[in-house]
Amino acid sequence: MSLTPDIVIAGLLTVGIFTFLWRDNRVFRAIEHLYIGVTAAQALVIGVGNVNRLAVNPILTGNIIYIISFIAGAMIYFNFSKRYSYLARYPVALLVGVMAGLTIRGQTAGIIYGQSAATAQLTLIAKDLLTSANNIITVTGVIAALSYFIFARKAAGHVKYLSAYGKYVIMSALGSAFGAAVLVRNALLGGRMLFLLQTDFIYLLPIIMVLFAIWVLYDKRRAQKQQ
């Protein structure tokens, strides 16, 4: 490997983002604007392809009904109009309708039914003591965690102790998920550092770090002067 334009660009951008950890500065902001511009454009280009595939092709092959989607899609631009902005509600109504339908069926089938059935499949007296204890904690834990979400004041008062237990179960679940995340996030950073340190970019790294440091400090002084 050598110092190709790919590596130089990617390396500059990587170090530039890291400067945000020091403080917000113009190197970071320039990269941020570049990033936003590039991604918005990318989405647009890929979107044009999708519209072609999903809408234009069916219309051309005689599926006239897809014209509706074209009109609905165009109506969203009325968001900019002061007078006719309500027209932009129609495409949103379509999206929200689809969302409501998907939520009603997906959440009931996959979660409400699926997760309760999975919990109800645990026997409270299993082949050994440890499994029994675990199953009892899981079943009661799910019930208790659910009771934490009871909102009616009177009913919530009746299950005060159960919902306190539920709250601890919830906190334990969230805590363990927090702990598990440390491994993955560090692996991600490791991936970036491998790129910076194991390609030939390592020779440029000191120079760029010094340059960026000078820039950030200059920025800081300028900001202080302005205040």
């Binding site: 790919d6 990617a10 390396g11 951008l13 990587t14 983002i17 945000f20 950890l21 113009r26 990269i31 604007h33 570049l34 990033y35 511009g37 991604t39 918005a40 454009a41 989405a43 280009v45 999708n50 519209v51 999903l54 809408a55 989607s69 609905a72 969203i76 309500y86 129609y90 495409p91 949103v92 379509l94 929200v96 309708g97 969302m99 409501a100 339908g101 009603i104 069926r105 959440q107 979660i111 409400i112 997760q115 899981t138 834990g141 799910v142 965690a145 659910l146 601890y168 179960v169 906190m171 334990s172 679940a173 805590g175 363990s176 927090f178 996030r185 560090n186 991600l188 970036r192 790129f195």
Partner: protein, 208 residues
């Protein structure tokens, strides 16, 4: 309010909500076809919205450039990169080398780098939040440390039991808590969807 401002959009939502949800329960070919069509429509409308987004970005930043307000030179960079990538993409196409170059060397490294900032923020948050303040935060702290101890390769040399404790926390209380949150949230989501199609949810045309 006039009917075409509120009632008609709500009717659209209502009809679609019923149609898409019943598609799952009814085996009826024409219904399935209609549901798929409307799913496509949703994707198409959202794709049109990407244009709305790009337009709003361009407008906002063009205004900044014309007014020379604030750091307008950043806006020049944004608009220029937006227009040039759109031009490259539309003229040469997505598989072209030029389009793939920006994808591989600008987009991908930036995405991975912003994501990797989490490694730093996770630690500063842990330093601040994992404290024995109340019983709840203590439970949070102990569970988090149990898993960290299991995942850290060196701790195993101190004591082999860390693995057992960590996996127990992940298997038992974690499962129970996750399921509790999931089931509760799902019930809430379904109720919200029903309020939405009835025009009763504050977040969607219901705030009268």
């Amino acid at each position: 309010m006039v009917w075409y401002r509120r009632e008609l959009p709500l009717t659209i939502t209502f009809v679609l909500g019923i149609l898409i949800s019943s598609d799952y329960f009814l085996v009826f070919a024409p219904l399935q076809k209609t549901a798929v069509t409307f799913n496509d429509f949703a994707t198409i409308v959202a794709t049109f919205a990407l244009g709305l987004g790009a337009a709003s970005l361009t407008l906002m930043h063009s205004k900044k450039i014309i007014d020379r307000s604030g750091e307008w030179y950043h806006s020049v960079l944004l608009v220029a990169s937006l227009l040039s990538v759109v031009a490259v993409g539309l003229i040469f196409g997505v598989p072209s080398d030029a389009f793939q170059f920006q994808f591989k060397n600008i987009y991908s490294p930036l995405e991975a780098t912003v994501f990797s900032l989490l490694a730093f923020y996770l630690l500063t948050t842990a330093y601040r939040a994992l404290r024995i303040r109340t019983v709840e935060t203590t439970v949070f702290l102990v569970s988090a440390l149990a898993v960290v101890m299991m995942n850290a390769p060196v701790t195993e040399f101190l004591w082999g039991g860390f693995t057992n404790i960590g996996s127990w926390v992940l298997n038992v209380p974690n499962t129970a808590g996750q399921r509790g949150i999931l089931i509760g949230a799902a019930i809430g989501a379904v109720a919200l969807a029903i309020r939405t199609i009835l025009g009763r949810e504050t977040g969607y045309l219901g705030g009268k």
